[in-house]
């Protein structure tokens, strides 16, 4: 029913905030129907990359193109799911999903068809009975499912997911991962998932790209069959490998910023940065994997 995924090409993308470079000549090629996860430390530019693709930020250099056509601004074939659900609190759940319809499909004509489609999507995310509720009545996970249904309303060919599960608790997150995977397998849109949770990336992606200081440092192809068992050796091994890449990439990220700094000073800074990162996002998944 859905049009096939788009071919997304990001070429030599540069982005600067003030004097600070965020993306430094980033290349990313996502084949139609592929799900690519982008992981990296916070501040590595992964969210910025997604926002540039979505047209929410302008690129400073380089280009983003879909099926060979450069994208300027927000494309009609692209939809995004944010970390917060960003539902309109004053619109019912069903109206929120309907908001995702294509601009040209929003006329009076075929409004019944559209509602039917929205209801079907709500059924797909397990919220058929909540269509007339206010979003304020939903839990965080339910809100995010409505956001997913809204994102799918126009049958997008490219879906961008900006840490969409980051604010959810562990159980809800795993449920949502399964839902995202199921929906993606059904529809085969192209997807770019930004996440700080390596397990999530390994569970969902065809390919995991490690972003480091605005560049793609490593790509890891995940070939395990789906659905992927988190407790399998392969899964744990892939997670650990990606983690290692992220941690290794830390040193060159710090050095160019302080070219004249004495060796031991930059070393201290490095360790401090490592400590903060590991306590927040990187260490817990590994511990869970080992147990």
């Amino acid at each position: 029913m859905s049009a096939s995924g788009a071919h997304l090409e990001v070429t030599r993308l540069h982005k600067v905030f003030g004097a600070r470079p965020v993306l430094r000549g980033l290349d990313l090629d996502v084949r139609p129907g592929e799900l690519v996860a982008v992981v990296g430390r916070s501040g590595c530019g992964k969210s910025t990359l997604l926002r540039v693709i979505a047209g929410l930020e302008c690129a400073y250099g380089g280009s983003v193109s879909m099926d060979g056509n450069p994208i300027v601004g927000s494309a009609d074939d692209t939809r995004m799911i944010f970390q917060e659900a960003r539902l309109l609190p004053w619109a019912s759940v069903l109206d929120n999903v309907l908001l995702g319809a294509r601009a040209e499909a929003k006329g009076r004509a075929r409004s019944r068809e559209r509602r039917e489609h929205a209801r079907e999507l709500l059924r797909g995310v397990g919220l058929a009975d909540r269509e007339s509720d206010w979003p304020g009545r939903l839990s965080g996970g339910q809100k995010q499912r409505v956001a997913l249904a809204r994102g799918l309303m126009s049958n997008p060919r490219l879906l961008l997911l900006d840490e969409p599960l980051g604010a959810l608790d562990a159980f809800t997150r795993i449920e949502m991962q399964q839902l995202v995977e199921r929906v993606w397998l059904e529809r085969r849109f192209t997807a770019v998932l930004v996440t700080h949770e390596i397990q999530e990336a390994v569970a969902l992606a065809d390919r995991v790209m490690v972003l480091d200081a605005g560049r793609a440092s490593v790509e890891v192809r995940i070939t395990m069959p789906r659905p992927r068992a988190r407790e399998s050796c392969e899964f744990i091994e892939a997670t650990a490998r990606i983690l290692r890449h992220i941690l290794e990439g830390a040193a060159p990220a710090v050095v160019p910023l302080k070219p004249g700094a004495p060796q031991d000073a930059s070393g201290t800074f490095d360790v401090a940065a490592f400590g903060v990162e590991s306590s927040h996002s990187i260490a817990p998944p590994l511990h869970r994997g080992v147990r």
Partner: protein, 281 residues
């Protein structure tokens, strides 16, 4: 969005049990009832001259007399008409300018700075000027009321539009909402809680302004009724008009609460007030 006035009282109504509510009602009624008893006792016993303070019975009797003769409804109607005309005029100008000033940078530069400057002048200070411009006719009173309600509506509309969640605007961009759709579905509904706060302030100012305007120069209306009663030392009628103003003010407040409850049914303060199920996935 954080300035919905009912935030504190709405949930309380939902959570208290009926018996608690009844007790609370009796307790809150204690002071007014005691005051009424003291008033009635001191005036009927002659401790206070009825010239200074009429007896409550006399106030009720005067109100009843006015109501029976049809005087009361005539004056109330004309006052209400003035109040509403002023509110409609000042409110709609305030709303439109507020939306524009909140939405467009150019409009904000043109309108907002001068309005913020004038806002510090008490609008009642303009009464002498208004009498020169409009004389003592209807226009003067409606103009004053309109001026009074303009500011709270304007200021709160601007605030409502500007405090819109940027995340929603970004979402609207990615979902390619048109300008009109962005306004009607995102900007305006987001500003409604703040606009309603403005409306409640405006209603208070509306009656206040009208009382002053009608006391100064009018040949009808509640303020006129009070002023003529004063000339004949009819303190009972003067008191009746005060009670009348209080009732009209309360009525306006009750109506806005009902409107608020309907329009802000989605708002967290009302959702939780109704005892949200708090379901989990």
């Amino acid at each position: 969005m954080s300035r919905v006035p009912s935030r504190s009282d709405a949930p309380a109504e939902g959570r208290t049990r009926p018996s608690d509510g009844r007790t609370a009602m009796w307790v809150s009624a204690l002071v007014p009832v005691a005051a009424l008893v003291a008033w009635s006792g001191s005036t009927t016993a002659g401790a206070v001259s009825t010239r200074v303070l009429p007896t409550p019975q006399a106030v009720v009797a005067a109100t009843w007399e006015l109501a029976r003769s049809g005087e009361l409804s005539r004056h109330v109607l004309i006052s209400t008409w003035r109040a509403l005309a002023g509110l409609a005029l000042g409110g709609s100008v305030g709303f439109i300018l507020g939306i524009m000033s909140g939405y467009f940078t150019l409009a904000s530069r043109l309108v907002d700075t001068p309005v913020q400057m004038i806002r510090n002048v008490p609008h009642l200070a303009l009464i002498p000027m208004v009498i020169i411009w409009f004389g003592l006719g209807e226009e003067a009173k409606i103009f004053l009321v309109a001026l009074g309600v303009f500011f709270p509506i304007y200021v709160n509309t601007v605030h409502g539009v500007r405090s819109l969640d940027d995340g929603l605007v970004e979402m609207a961009r990615v979902f390619r909402l048109g300008r009109a759709e962005l306004f009607w579905r995102v900007v305006l509904p987001g500003a409604v809680p703040s606009i309603l706060v403005g409306l409640r302030f405006a209603l208070g100012l509306m009656w206040l302004t009208l009382i002053v305007a009608e006391t100064i120069g009018a040949d009808s209306g509640i303020g006129y009724l009070a002023m003529t009663a004063r000339e004949f030392m009819r303190t009972d009628i003067v008191f009746a008009t005060v009670v009348l103003y209080a009732l009209l003010g309360k009525l306006a407040d009750v109506i806005t609460r009902v409107v608020e409850r309907r329009m802000l049914a989605w708002h967290p303060s009302y959702l939780h007030g109704l005892g949200a199920s708090g379901s989990t996935p």
